[in-house]
């Protein structure tokens, strides 16, 4: 029998359920990434749930640095965009942050 706290140890916060991001949704997004994506092992969304958490944390920290440069305490989209521009590994996001001036714009692809 596993201990009650077994899964919560896996999370940095430990406050949420076993995985803080919904696995089914992750799987859907994975499937949409290409026609060739057919079979996904059970572990892959699990890895992604943690990877996305790390990604969000990194992007947010960098964006917050931009926010502080503007001498304010509220993060805006422009701070996220600036963080993307500044970070090499976020190059794949450059098109995304400069193309979405308005959330109700037409869908890409």
């Amino acid at each position: 029998m596993r201990q009650p706290g077994a899964y919560s140890n896996l999370l940095s916060g430990g406050k949420m359920g076993p995985h803080s991001l919904p696995l089914a949704r992750i799987k859907k997004i994975m499937k949409k990434s290409g026609e060739d994506v057919k079979m996904i092992s059970g572990e892959a969304p699990i890895v992604f749930s943690k990877a996305c958490e790390l990604f969000i944390e990194e992007l947010t920290k960098r964006a917050w640095a931009m926010t502080l440069q503007r001498k304010t305490r509220t993060m805006h989209k422009e701070d996220v965009a600036a963080a993307v521009m500044e970070t090499d590994i976020f190059d794949f996001l450059v098109g995304l942050v400069s193309h979405t001036p308005n959330p109700s714009a037409t869908l890409e692809s």
Partner: protein, 228 residues
């Protein structure tokens, strides 16, 4: 198409007159002007998120509440995050998933494998420059595998104290039944001298003895015979 539709259980409701369309295209029936946001459609995201020409679009992103929660963790307590910042990060995460999955999928194709597994994701993440993530991810995956493995191995338990007491009882009880029942409390594990609790790989303390799990072929009879 019906099968695809079944996949979208909580986020997508069938559109009127669009049952034959693929789930990913915006049909003329669902432009913003005619799209019933909150009357016939019970999608919880429809009213909360104006990012919604089509509620199917929400399937493209992770829930904004989850994203926002993770973001909040890494900024100071008095910091604030605007909604557009959260939405932007939400979109970026989906792009990240697509980006990494694409690389992993290419690798599987090159190696003629059909299933993308956790290691492929780790490889893609490293290749794309996020190698700092790999160590925490490996630890996370290992713990997950451990827990899942333990779930499969858990047998019917006996309390540990009971097992230890019975270890000390005289063996003459076996005289009556030289053939020990296989599930007797005199499991071979108790007869073999070893510590009742084997602290080993599991990172979490376990209430049961791992040694009691062993039910392979055991020389139970030999042990009994040795005493007589």
């Amino acid at each position: 198409m019906k099968r695809d539709r079944d996949d979208f259980e909580d986020d997508e409701k069938p559109q009127i007159g669009s049952s034959s369309r693929t789930p990913y295209t915006i049909s003329p029936d669902t432009t913003t002007s005619s799209y019933p946001k909150s009357t016939t459609n019970q999608n919880p995201y429809a009213s909360k998120n104006n990012n919604n020409n089509n509620n199917k679009e929400q399937d493209r992103f992770l829930p904004i509440a989850n994203v926002g929660r993770i973001m909040k963790k890494v900024i100071p307590g008095n910091g604030k995050i605007s909604k557009d910042a959260k939405e932007t990060v939400q979109e970026c995460v989906s792009e990240f998933i697509s980006f990494v999955t694409g690389e992993a999928s290419d690798k599987c194709q090159r190696e003629k494998r059909k299933t993308i597994n956790g290691d492929d994701i780790l490889w893609a993440i490293t290749t794309l420059g996020f190698e700092d993530y790999v160590n925490p991810l490996k630890i996370y995956l290992a713990k997950y595998r451990d827990i899942e493995g333990e779930k499969l191995n858990v047998p019917k338990q006996q309390p540990m104290e009971q097992q230890q007491q019975q270890q000390q009882q005289p063996m003459h009880q076996d005289q009556n039944s030289p053939n020990l029942p296989y599930n007797s409390v005199y499991s071979a594990a108790n007869l073999i001298s070893q510590p009742p609790f084997v602290p080993g790989d599991p990172p979490f303390p376990l209430p049961f003895s791992q040694s009691s799990i062993q039910t392979g072929s055991l020389p139970q009879h030999d042990h009994v015979d040795d005493h007589w």
